[in-house]
C-alpha cells in the first residue's frame, strides 16, 4: 500500500482513519502496513503499533471476511446472550477469538454496543442484529458470504 504523508488543514495526521482504511482493504493491519505508515507519517513504528493494538475495531492479526461481535455486557447477559454465543459457536464450529478455516467468519465477544433495549444483540461487520434467539442464528449467518 502506498501512503503519502498527508496532514489536513488541522495539522491532523488521522492515523486512526488510515489504519481503518488499511483494515477495510486488507482485513487487518499487517506489520508491513504499520511500517509504511510509520515512515510516511514520520513517527516511530511502536506508536503505530500502540494505536493499532489499542482499538477493538483494528486488528494486527488476519481476520475472516465477516466479523461476528456478540455483546457480552450486562443487558445482553440478562437476556441470555450466552445462548447466542453457544449457538454461533455450534453453527460455525469455533469459539470466541478464532477464525473459521475457510476464512469466512471471525468470532469475537464485544462490550456494550448500545442495543440494550433489543437485547441480546450482535454486530456482523457493521450490521446490527437484535432480539436474537438461538433459532435465528443459522438463518442470519447464512446471509453472509
Amino acid at each position: 500500500m502506498s501512503q503519502q504523508a498527508i496532514s489536513n488543514r488541522h495539522g491532523e495526521q488521522d492515523l486512526i482513519g488510515r489504519l481503518k482504511e488499511a483494515q477495510a482493504k486488507f482485513g487487518h493491519v499487517s506489520e508491513e502496513v504499520m511500517a509504511e505508515l510509520a515512515r510516511s507519517l514520520d513517527i516511530p513504528i511502536n506508536d503505530v503499533y500502540g494505536v493499532a493494538s489499542f482499538y477493538s475495531f483494528l486488528s494486527t492479526q488476519p481476520l475472516g471476511r465477516n466479523i461476528i461481535r456478540i455483546c457480552q455486557s450486562l443487558p445482553c447477559y440478562l437476556k441470555y446472550g450466552q445462548t447466542i454465543m453457544e449457538s454461533v459457536a455450534q453453527e460455525i464450529g469455533i469459539i470466541p477469538g478464532e477464525t473459521t478455516a475457510d476464512g469466512k467468519f471471525s468470532f469475537q465477544l464485544t462490550n456494550c454496543i448500545g442495543l440494550c433495549d433489543r437485547a441480546p444483540a450482535m454486530m456482523i461487520n457493521y450490521d446490527s442484529h437484535v432480539d436474537l434467539t438461538p433459532k435465528k442464528i443459522a438463518q442470519i449467518l447464512g446471509t453472509y458470504k
Binding site: I16, S73, L74, C112, A119
Partner: protein, 399 residues
C-alpha cells in the same frame, strides 16, 4: 413529576432524512435568534442562567464550560459533540441521532457561534457506523440551506474503545493516538483538541441548547430540582417488560421510571449510570433521579430477584478491567485485583480479609485514579458491600 419530551420532541415526528420536516417545526429558529439578537456573551449567560448541566455523566455546568472556552485566549477554537456513547446500558444518544440529527447540529452551530469557531466535530463510536450516512446527509442538507454560514461540521469515527467516551481520551483519539486520559489541568476549555480551547459536550447536552435559546433560561430552570434543571433522557434495559428510552423531568422518582413506565416487577436492585454507576437496592426505589443523588448518563439496568449480586458486580468489574486504558496504576491494577477477588466470591471461595481489602482498594482507586473511569470503577463494589453484604459473607470460604 411528569414525563416530558423536550429533548425528544422531534423524535418520531420529523423525518431525519428531510430537513423540510424539521423546518416545519421550529428548526433553526434558535440559531437565527442568536445570530440576529444575541452576543456570544449573552448566549453563555443564558446557558448559565438555565442551570443546564452536562448529560454525559459528569454533570458539569454547561454554561461555565462554554464561558471558559469563550474567554480562553486563542483564535482557533473547536466544538466537539461526544457521540461515543459506550457506557453499559446506554443507548439514548443512538436513539436521538437516529431520529433528530438536525437539533444536535443546530446546538453545535450555536456553540460554534459563541466561540467564533470555524469547525465542529461529531465523534461517533465505531459501533454506530450505521448512523454515519444519516448524519452526513443532515449536515449536507443544512449546509445547502445556508444555516451553517462559515461553520463546518465533520464526522470522525472511533475505532472501538470505551475510554474514548472520556473527553480527554476522545481528543487523544481524534489526534491519532491511543485513547488515554490526560492529566488535568489544563482543561479542554483552554487546551483541548490539538491544544486549542474546545467545547466538548454530550449529544443530549447539545440537544438542550436550541430549546433553551428559543424558550429562555427561565422556562428551562422551572423544571427540575435546585441543582438539576430540565429533563433527562434515560435508557432502560434489563429485567423489564418495556425497555427503551424515556425522558423525564429531573427529580422524578426511580420508581416512576422503572415501575411506572418500564413496568418492572419483582425488582431486586437497579444499576444507574452503567458500569461506573451506582447500585440502588429496591428499598430505595423512591430515590429522586438527580445529579445530587444518582444519574450518570442515565443508563438504568434493572435486575429482578433471580439475579446474583456477586455475579453482576463481577461482570461489571470484568468490563472495566478490559476497558481501562492502562495509563494510571490504580485503575489498571485495581480493576484487575478486583476481578480476581470478586471471582473468588463468585466461586464461594472469598476470604474474610477480602471484604476489608475491597473497601480499602475502592478508596485508593477513587482518590488516586487519573480519570472518571478509575475514580468510579469501584462504585458497584462499594454499593453492593453496603447494601448486599450478606451476599459476600455467604460466599466466604468455610461459611
Amino acid at each position: 413529576m411528569p414525563q416530558e419530551n423536550i429533548v425528544l420532541k422531534n423524535c418520531g415526528v420529523i423525518d431525519p432524512r428531510q430537513i423540510a420536516t424539521f423546518l416545519e417545526r421550529d428548526g433553526f429558529q434558535a440559531l437565527e435568534k442568536v445570530r440576529r439578537e444575541m452576543t456570544p456573551e449573552a448566549v453563555t449567560d443564558e446557558i448559565k442562567a438555565s442551570g443546564l448541566r452536562g448529560r454525559g455523566g459528569a454533570g458539569f455546568p454547561c454554561g461555565l464550560k462554554w464561558e471558559g472556552t469563550r474567554k480562553a485566549p486563542g483564535g482557533e477554537k473547536y466544538v466537539i459533540c461526544n457521540a461515543d456513547e459506550g457506557e453499559v446500558g446506554t443507548f439514548k444518544d443512538r436513539y436521538i441521532l437516529e431520529r433528530d440529527p438536525f437539533t444536535l447540529i443546530e446546538g453545535m452551530a450555536i456553540a460554534g457561534y459563541t466561540l467564533g469557531a470555524k469547525t465542529g466535530f461529531i465523534y461517533l463510536r465505531a459501533e454506530y457506523h450505521h448512523l454515519f450516512d444519516l448524519l452526513e446527509n443532515a449536515i449536507r442538507q443544512i449546509e445547502e440551506f445556508g444555516f451553517l454560514a462559515n461553520f463546518t461540521i465533520e464526522i470522525r469515527e472511533g475505532a472501538g474503545a470505551y475510554i474514548c467516551g472520556e473527553e480527554s481520551a476522545l481528543m487523544d483519539a481524534m489526534e491519532g493516538k491511543r485513547g488515554e486520559a490526560r492529566y488535568r489541568p489544563p482543561f479542554p476549555t483552554t487546551a483541548g483538541l490539538w491544544g486549542k480551547p474546545t467545547i466538548i459536550n454530550n449529544v443530549e447536552t447539545l440537544m438542550n441548547i436550541p430549546r433553551i435559546i428559543r424558550n429562555g433560561a427561565g422556562w428551562f430552570n422551572q423544571m427540575g430540582t435546585e441543582r438539576s434543571k430540565g429533563t433527562k433522557v434515560f435508557s432502560v434495559s434489563g429485567d423489564v417488560p418495556k425497555p427503551g428510552v424515556y425522558e423525564l423531568v429531573l427529580g422524578s422518582s426511580l420508581r416512576e421510571l422503572v415501575e411506572g413506565l418500564a413496568l418492572a416487577k419483582n425488582t431486586k436492585m437497579i444499576q444507574i449510570g452503567g458500569a461506573t454507576g451506582r447500585i440502588v437496592p429496591y428499598e430505595q426505589i423512591d430515590t429522586p433521579l438527580t445529579f445530587e443523588s444518582v444519574l450518570g448518563a442515565g443508563a438504568v439496568i434493572v435486575f429482578d430477584q433471580s439475579r446474583d449480586v456477586i455475579d453482576i458486580v463481577h461482570r461489571t468489574m470484568e468490563f472495566l478491567a478490559e476497558e481501562s486504558c492502562g495509563k494510571c496504576t490504580p485503575c489498571r491494577q485495581g480493576t484487575e485485583v478486583m476481578v480476581e477477588t470478586l471471582a473468588r466470591f463468585h466461586r464461594g471461595e472469598g476470604l474474610k480479609k477480602d471484604l476489608k481489602d475491597l473497601a480499602d482498594l475502592s478508596e485508593v482507586m477513587t482518590l488516586t485514579s487519573l480519570c472518571g473511569l478509575g475514580q468510579a470503577a469501584s462504585n458497584a463494589v462499594t454499593d453492593s458491600l453496603q447494601h448486599f453484604k450478606d451476599a459476600y459473607e455467604s460466599r466466604v470460604a468455610g461459611n
